[in-house]
């Protein structure tokens, strides 16, 4: 498939692809080329739901020509590091999600811990990753009424995505559980534990107290 490439202002390009899997492949391919010094000067590479934005581009015409002939393979997406997220599955919405799936809570936990996820993109807040990998039949809607405060470390679902809240913030995602991992630390490189391209596995662990 030839990606559509759109101009964005004077120094940015937007690459449109089919969906999250193609975004992951394209993003992986771009980062590899960038690290190899074969992309030209680009300040930002921002993956999203079905696009990748390249901003701060020194030579937009040359890069547009390169992008139109790019043929990233699915393998480009699977090259990120693997992060394990130990999760206590005691979230406020676990019973509701299990009911939506028509299974027991124990089975819901097995369903959520089965896939290997990939961080498709970040947004909403620094270090908030949108993880793909849950089979499409398990998509759930956002809550009708968002919570005013979702605790930091909450593992949550909305639409096709799984996410982990890096800090306490308002949110409308369905809460499955929680992790004690530090998702966001500006002293760390990269600051986001779940940066785009990172592969993720959730494992069920027992809670301490609470």
């Amino acid at each position: 498939m030839t990606p559509a490439v759109r101009r964005v202002g004077e120094s940015a390009l937007l690459v449109e692809v089919a969906g999250p899997a193609e975004v992951a492949a394209f993003y992986g391919w771009l980062r590899e080329r960038q690290e190899a010094g074969a992309l030209g000067a680009v300040e930002e590479i921002v993956p999203a739901a079905s696009t990748v934005l390249l901003d701060g581009v020194a030579d937009v015409d040359a890069l547009a020509a390169l992008l139109r002939t790019a043929r990233p393979a699915a393998a480009d997406a699977a090259s990120g590091p693997l992060v394990e997220v130990p999760t206590v599955y005691d979230g406020a919405d676990l019973a509701e999600v299990a009911a939506l799936w028509g299974v027991s809570e124990e089975a819901a936990v097995r369903i959520h811990t089965a896939p290997e996820y990939v961080v498709a993109f970040c947004g909403f807040a620094p270090g908030f990753g949108y993880l793909t990998g849950l089979p499409p039949q398990y998509e759930v809607p956002r809550r009708a009424t968002p919570r005013s405060a979702v605790p930091a470390g909450s593992v949550a679902l909305a639409g096709p995505y799984t996410g982990v809240y890096p800090r306490s913030s308002p949110g409308g995602w369905q809460l499955l559980g929680r992790t004690t991992l530090t998702l966001w630390d500006t002293a760390r490189e990269p600051a986001a534990l779940l940066a785009p391209g990172v592969r993720v596995r959730f494992t069920a662990v027992r809670g301490h107290g609470s």
Binding site: R6, R7, V8, G9, E10, A12, L14, E43, E44, I45, V46, P47, A48, A49, S50, T51, V52, L53, D55, G56, F121, C122, G123, F124, A125, P126, G127, F128, T186, P190, A191, A192, A195, P196
Partner: protein, 287 residues
């Protein structure tokens, strides 16, 4: 290390440099001075590197006591400058002796003044920048009374007593607009009208976006756009049809279609446009 003590923080005063680059994919806005030429001019006047951190005020100025002797320069939106109550120069280096209070008054025109200090505001950088990012709360919080702001060692060369060219305040804000990437989400007539109609700067404008109000821009297609990466100067059209121009603290991704992008060179004027100022969009033709 020298210090400045915040006597009066003003309505909103933040530390700003040229912002964060290379971390948008982690969800981190760029931040940085909204009127970048004014920041650069202030730093030049005090002998700093162009991107040293300075204070960005909002309408109401700021007052600081110098713990040790410092050299400052105020640029951006014109405002009275006083040292211990005596008038001092705007747009030129001003020496402030130890113990004296330097005060920037309310802006006479425009919105944001910049107080640069020789050596720069030396708060700890976060992800390569000292800028406050008001969307995600990264970097130093807006300054408060009693804060002590560290100042770096004076630059190795003498400040040049330069004069900064001051532009006369415009009667309207003219924003050029390069169409795309989602101009095709709007009827062609809507694009033509956007160039013809007059908008005003809305009071809800802030460091995240310049909000405008006027005739609603009509969509050609309904439905949701999947979230996509956003650039500085992107003009989003939310469902109410009122154009929103993204400024430095803009979110890294967004779900409303972008009809066009304002070039960065036009955004310094947007940073100084007060609510109610007329806005005109000039659509750039060609590629």
């Amino acid at each position: 290390m020298s210090e400045l003590l915040v006597v009066r923080p003003g309505p909103l005063t933040t530390v700003q440099d040229l912002g964060r680059r290379g971390v948008a994919h982690l969800g981190v806005p760029r931040a940085g001075a909204l009127d970048e030429p004014a920041l650069r001019a202030g730093n030049r006047l005090v002998g700093n590197e162009p991107g040293a951190a300075a204070l960005e005020t909002t309408l109401g100025g700021v007052a600081l006591r110098a713990i040790r002797r410092v050299v400052v320069a105020v640029t951006g939106a014109p405002a009275p400058v006083r040292v211990d109550g005596r008038a001092a120069a705007f747009g030129a280096p001003v020496a402030v002796r130890a113990g004296a209070v330097v005060e920037v008054g309310a802006t006479t025109t425009g919105v944001r003044s910049y107080l640069a200090v020789a050596g720069g505001i030396a708060v700890a950088p976060v992800l390569g920048s000292r800028s406050a990012d008001l969307l995600s709360g990264l970097g130093p919080a807006p300054i408060a009374a009693g804060d002590r702001l560290p100042v770096g060692p004076p630059p190795p060369y003498r400040p040049r007593p330069d004069l900064v060219p001051l532009l006369a305040p415009p009667a309207e804000l003219v924003l050029r607009l390069r169409l795309g990437p989602r101009a095709d989400w709007f009827v062609p007539e809507a694009v033509a009208r956007l160039a013809r109609d007059r908008y005003r700067v809305a009071p809800a404008s802030n460091r995240i976006a310049l909000r405008t109000e006027g005739p609603a821009v009509a969509r050609a297609r309904e439905g949701e756009l999947p979230s996509e990466g956003m650039v500085l100067g992107a003009v989003q059209i939310p469902p109410d049809g009122q154009p929103v121009v993204f400024l430095a603290d803009h979110p890294t991704t967004g779900g409303y279609p972008v009809i066009g992008v304002v070039p960065p060179t036009d955004l310094a004027a947007a940073a100084q446009a007060r609510p109610g100022m007329p806005v005109r969009f000039v659509v750039l033709r060609g590629r």
